[in-house]
């Protein structure tokens, strides 16, 4: 597939090394809810959020405020990279269960 071939080329051009520098946070999806529902992160810095989906169903971590759209398959863990953020509140949802899965990132 063209997409995969390109992904490999892109990867060869330079794999992320920046992840190691970013501060790490953890988030769990359980019963279609985020835990914790609020994360405080430093403003102006790149931040890595590890999202562990404990549910037997896939979820999509979505936030237009954070410019993130990422599928977290069932019973698995995904890495969401955000920032640098200006101080403020950034809401996110689990798009596949938008009525219950809600949370907010607070940059300060």
């Amino acid at each position: 597939m063209r997409g995969f071939a390109l992904a490999i080329v892109l990867a060869a051009l330079g794999m992320p090394g920046a992840g190691a520098l970013a501060q790490e946070f953890n988030l769990v999806i359980r019963n279609h809810k985020f835990e914790p529902q609020e994360i405080r992160v430093p403003a102006g810095k790149r931040v890595s959020i590890y999202v562990t989906n404990e549910d037997p169903t896939p979820e999509e971590f979505e936030s237009t405020a954070l410019k993130v759209e990422k599928v977290i398959p069932a019973k698995s863990k995904g890495l969401v990279r955000i920032g640098p953020l200006a101080p403020g509140r950034y809401e996110f949802i689990g798009d596949f269960h938008a009525d219950t899965a809600k949370g907010v990132v607070i940059a300060e």
Binding site: G3, T57, K67, V71, S76, L79, A86, F96
Partner: protein, 248 residues
């Protein structure tokens, strides 16, 4: 059922806007219906495969596989949109890639509610209704475009395709940023979300159509403008060949 309807509809109109534009842009080219149908079919197949391997893709490249795949799919679509100025068939690939991107989300979502214990039949009804309403919307886009007087339609579809490409390029660089590959120019330029939120229905459609982003980064704006410039240059370069072909 309602959840399935909404999400299927949402993804279908996103792909549908692109299909509607492609159909309008290729009007008068013989056999284009079959090609576009082939693009939709291959895209659907691809969406199933991507959904099936979602976990493997997510875990690839230190957890950036999904972002890289999205960036690659969008990047390939931008290249195809540029190429279409000389080779119309490239638009079929664009259709396939659009269906693949939106479709894989639909498959994952539907699988999710099925696994969550929802009844298969209510899911089927919701999904089918979503697909039907989305398809009707696609038809509306197409007939809206082809109702434009013939001497203007080429100009209109050219501009729409250029904006489509620019928007995709801006999305692609954001995925590269999220993958941790590009870490420059990520400062946010403005926030127009209070007036026109990107996750509202109009914001979503503008996002697909012209690449509207309520909080763009510097790099996104640069990618957007660079792609628009490139599309304008390519259209201008390809113009003489096209003028000769136009009478069809």
């Amino acid at each position: 059922m309602f959840g399935a309807l909404v999400i299927v509809f949402r993804e279908v109109i996103e792909a549908g806007l692109i299909i509607g534009i492609v159909l309008a842009a290729t009007r008068g080219i013989s056999g284009r219906g079959h090609w576009v149908a082939a693009g939709v079919l291959l895209g659907t197949l691809g969406a199933g495969i991507v959904a099936l391997f979602a976990e493997a893709i997510a875990n690839a490249f230190e957890g950036s596989g999904q972002e890289l795949l999205n960036a690659s799919v969008l990047g390939a679509a931008v290249v195809m949109l540029m190429w279409h100025t000389v080779w119309m068939t490239a638009l079929v690939v664009v259709v396939g890639l659009a269906v693949l991107r939106e479709g894989s989300e639909v498959v994952l979502f539907l699988y999710g509610i099925l696994a969550g214990g929802a009844s298969g039949s209510s899911l089927f009804v919701g999904g089918t209704l979503g697909l039907a309403v989305g398809a009707a919307f696609t038809a509306l886009t197409y007939y809206g475009l082809v109702s434009i007087p013939a001497r203007h339609i080429f100009a209109v579809t050219t501009v729409l395709i250029a904006l489509l490409a620019a928007g995709m390029a801006a999305q692609a660089v954001q995925y590269l940023d999220a993958a941790g590959i590009i870490n420059v120019l990520s400062r946010q330029l403005w926030d127009s979300s209070p007036w026109l939120p990107q996750d509202g229905i109009i914001g979503r459609m503008l996002h697909t159509l012209i690449g509207y982003t309520d909080r763009p980064t510097e790099l996104q704006l640069i990618a957007y403008l660079a792609t628009l410039t490139a599309m304008a240059a390519l259209t201008w370069l390809a113009a003489p060949t096209r003028a000769r072909r136009a009478p069809a």
